[in-house]
Subunit: 204 residues, 2 copies
């Protein structure tokens, strides 16, 4: 069983390897990969060793091969249907962002409660009425939901998403939501980014 912190790092390795692959870099050492992403090379080797023998001592990792393995491990070999709830500023930025689609992470359904927004175009998607959440989730077979609505509605939205069959939730609302333990939940707190900049600046 991989410690949860390794799982947290894998997507970071993946992103970095993707960029290297785009630049046609064929081989990379754990030292150099680690330097690029600020992770000690010992940790890089340890993390990647959980999943198999990828590297060659003294040489490093073959980028295209490792990328292929990571894609499989990370579940990126398939397309994922994602339902977004909350067609506000944050929701718009998420739907607008091309980076997700490139990974097969498709936000094809957007739901909102505001009658002025329902029926509007949002990126390439039409905003649906959140009252139809259950049908939308069932018909799309969406397994992932994103909560980008105000905090006071987050728990209710989570409950409905899970009831309808969603297995993983990405929550941006600044509140603790409760989900059954078999549901994957990730709370995104963008303050962490600003706080770590404040930390570094205050040390100068």
């Amino acid at each position: 069983i991989t410690p949860s912190t390794t799982i947290e790092r894998l997507p970071i390795y993946y992103r970095s390897l993707q960029k290297l692959d785009k630049k046609n870099v064929e081989v990379i050492s754990s030292k150099e990969l680690g330097e690029r992403i600020g992770i000690p090379s010992t940790q890089v080797r340890k993390d990647l060793s959980y999943y198999g023998e990828f590297g060659r001592r003294g040489v490093g990792y073959e980028v295209p091969v490792l990328l292929k393995h990571l894609r499989k491990i990370l579940g990126l070999n398939q397309d994922w249907e994602i339902v977004l709830v909350g067609a506000g500023h944050l929701g718009h930025a998420l739907v607008n962002y091309g980076g997700f689609r490139k990974l097969g992470l498709n936000i094809n359904y957007v739901l909102d409660a505001d009658s002025k927004k329902i029926g509007e175009e949002f990126g390439d998607v039409e905003i649906s009425n959140v009252e139809n959440l259950t049908e939308v989730v069932k018909e799309s077979g969406a397994e992932m939901g994103i909560i980008a609505a105000p905090a006071e509605y987050a728990q209710g939205i989570a409950d409905e998403l899970i009831e309808a069959g969603v297995k993983a939730i990405w929550n941006f609302a600044p509140t603790h939501i409760k989900v059954p333990h078999e549901i994957e939940l990730r709370n995104e707190d963008l303050s962490i980014g600003l706080i770590s900049l404040a930390y570094h600046l205050s040390r100068k």
Copy 2:
């Protein structure tokens, strides 16, 4: 010198302790704190020990005391002036989000290139013309800049921010920007959140 990964975890401890403090929890063990945030208790104790003797063996940490120390360590004892460049969807979500201000992280200046947006109200802030970036940064004394503009403009914006005196940059544009090594740079990639959900789901 603290390893960079400890620095990455400190804001997470801080957030968790803040919530505990709000609920008037007085003491917490490294085990329980670790469980709340998915970090092994050994790591929690190791991380916090870099900064002093905060815990008491067999008892744990006094929440208000630890919070006060972390606030100082993280540079949150002061207010920070922040300039945001790119008054789009993402920019709007960041300015809208109350969580930053509560930490003394104040996005008081927003700049854009679109003449239709300049002069518009954006949260409690008026959008300024990005052509005035240098004056805005100098007059505000802003030390942090956020880039929420399209990728093709990110490097140019970063250069100007740094030239004007900004010391730290939070970059959301999906591109690698180059900065002098004394400048703090954090690239935010929200794909990491979705990828880790895909990972967990694909393992079920």
